[in-house]
Symmetry: C2
């Protein structure tokens, strides 16, 4: 049972408002932080959220617009001043390396930890950890941009403890082996794992759109997300502006969430014209039955569905 939550650190598009900082989303899973975009000012909310400056950390930059990546430099500096020692892996399009290296060269930040920059130049699985994988898909934006999915590997099925006792299986190593899918022999008798352990249960899947127009490709990529975090820069009144600037309306976000069979939609990345995102929420709720919207510092816990 891995604890998993989403913390929004910045939810405004392009220009910060009194209430919303620039884009940044943290997914905290079992003590590890997966950070998607680091807009200017993110470090302030990061510190306030007490997410931990020396946690295992991977950072993903959806695209190199300044409101999605500028905060990286200050964030790295602050973690260095606070004594971070653990390496950070950071993922993004090729210019990310140039952006970081040129700024490190010009302004001596004095990092206290190692950074490994991983260039993303094609779609597919970019990380495969023991418990989960991260994959990326090209988004449809005005500059090279990626959307991401975190997908947990299937979890073991439910262990039928009553049956295990009934069959006199000794506790401990034998239980573990059965749980892991191995068949075992007890008193000369073969006991198959699937007699005791139910079918594997699916892990959770979280989608993160970054900045994008809706697309068929993304609809497929986000298939059956438990939670889909989708940009919703405008409401329908600004449909043309959404097309022109390669962004989405809340109606489009909701339609994509519905068509991809995503369980819950969280809207974020709101144009600074909306001091209150309720109009966007209401628009999306006419299309999808489980929609919420992000606020800076708002946390969503992610339950298992199976």
């Amino acid at each position: 049972m891995a604890d998993m939550k989403i913390v929004f650190l910045g939810t405004s598009a392009a220009i910060p408002t009194q209430r919303r900082g620039l884009s940044s989303i943290v997914i905290k899973r079992e003590g590890e932080l997966l950070i998607f975009d680091v807009g200017e000012g993110m470090q302030r909310n990061f510190l306030q959220a007490k997410l931990g400056i020396n946690k295992k950390m991977k950072v993903f930059i959806t695209h190199l617009h300044i409101d999605h990546c500028l905060g990286l430099l200050g964030f790295f500096q602050t973690m260095s001043l606070l004594g971070r020692t653990k390496k950070i892996d950071i993922y993004g399009e090729p210019r990310l390396r140039e952006f970081l290296n040129e700024n490190f060269r010009i302004i001596n930040i004095g990092l206290s930890f190692e950074i490994t920059i991983h260039i993303i130049d094609k779609e597919g699985i970019i990380i495969n950890e023991q418990d989960y994988q991260v994959s990326c898909c090209r988004a449809d934006h005005s500059v090279p941009a990626f959307s991401f999915c975190i997908k947990e590997h299937p979890r073991p099925g439910i262990f039928n403890i009553d049956k295990a006792i009934e069959l006199s299986i000794p506790k401990g190593g034998m239980y573990r082996r059965l749980q892991n899918g191995e068949d075992v022999i007890v008193d000369g008798k073969l006991i198959k794992s699937n007699e005791i352990v139910g079918p594997k249960r699916r892990g959770r899947k979280i989608g993160i759109s970054g900045d994008t127009r809706p697309s068929l490709k993304l609809r497929n990529f986000f298939d059956s997300c438990d939670i889909l975090i989708f940009e919703s820069t405008y409401n329908q009144d600004y449909q043309e502006k959404a097309i022109e600037t390669f962004h989405s309306t809340s109606a489009e976000a909701a339609l994509l969430a519905k068509e991809s069979n995503s369980n819950k939609l969280i809207l974020t990345h709101f144009s600074s014209r909306y001091s209150d995102a309720t109009i966007l929420l209401n628009e999306a709720r006419t299309i999808h039955n489980d929609v919420d919207f992000a606020e800076d510092m708002k946390t969503f816990h992610i339950p298992y569905t199976e």
Copy 2:
């Protein structure tokens, strides 16, 4: 009578806190904005302070530590998105040009206005406008750093209207010429300017330390400031740390303000360890009799002393 005020947009050293953003000070004088440092997150307070995105503007970067300059890029982007058209003059040490140009090259910000970068490589007067001048002096910090003074040119003396009427001087052009120091002839009689107009009155002088140790050079540079804004990263308990990191304590700031005959001292740039700057204020008040401290969004109006 030029209106002049100081608005603090960021008052924390190195790391932002819940209450304080990174360094930025605006001096608004007659509709023009003189901005000293643009730390990360400054644009948010700038917008909130409603200082105007298309005002005449000069920006000064005291030094190229990231907490003093990173916000430039987002600030420029936001003003572009909001339609600024007026050129900006920006002043700083040679690497400033590289910092801006490399970032403009890597991340297409799409500026809507022109920027002229002025490299500062020596001390002295860097701007001489009709009403004021700006001069700089080397600070004593861990990287090349400058302190700045804004000094208004002397204002005309007080016009003795009663005497002008008594001498039957016609209103209008004749008054203006006298006010500007010219002698005039009325009914064949010479009237000297100094019969009607008192001695010139001194303008205001504002000093801004940036990050620095106190120094004799700065004591002279800040001679007779109306307001001296001086960094006060630590209190006396951290004297050694102040020396080691090339910063000042509040006692040192107060002593320098006193010895430079500065009228009023405003402390800023507080280490994030101080959630309340009162300890720093109290320390400085034992040395100088007019001390205040900066808070984000706090405004100080600057009266004439003569």
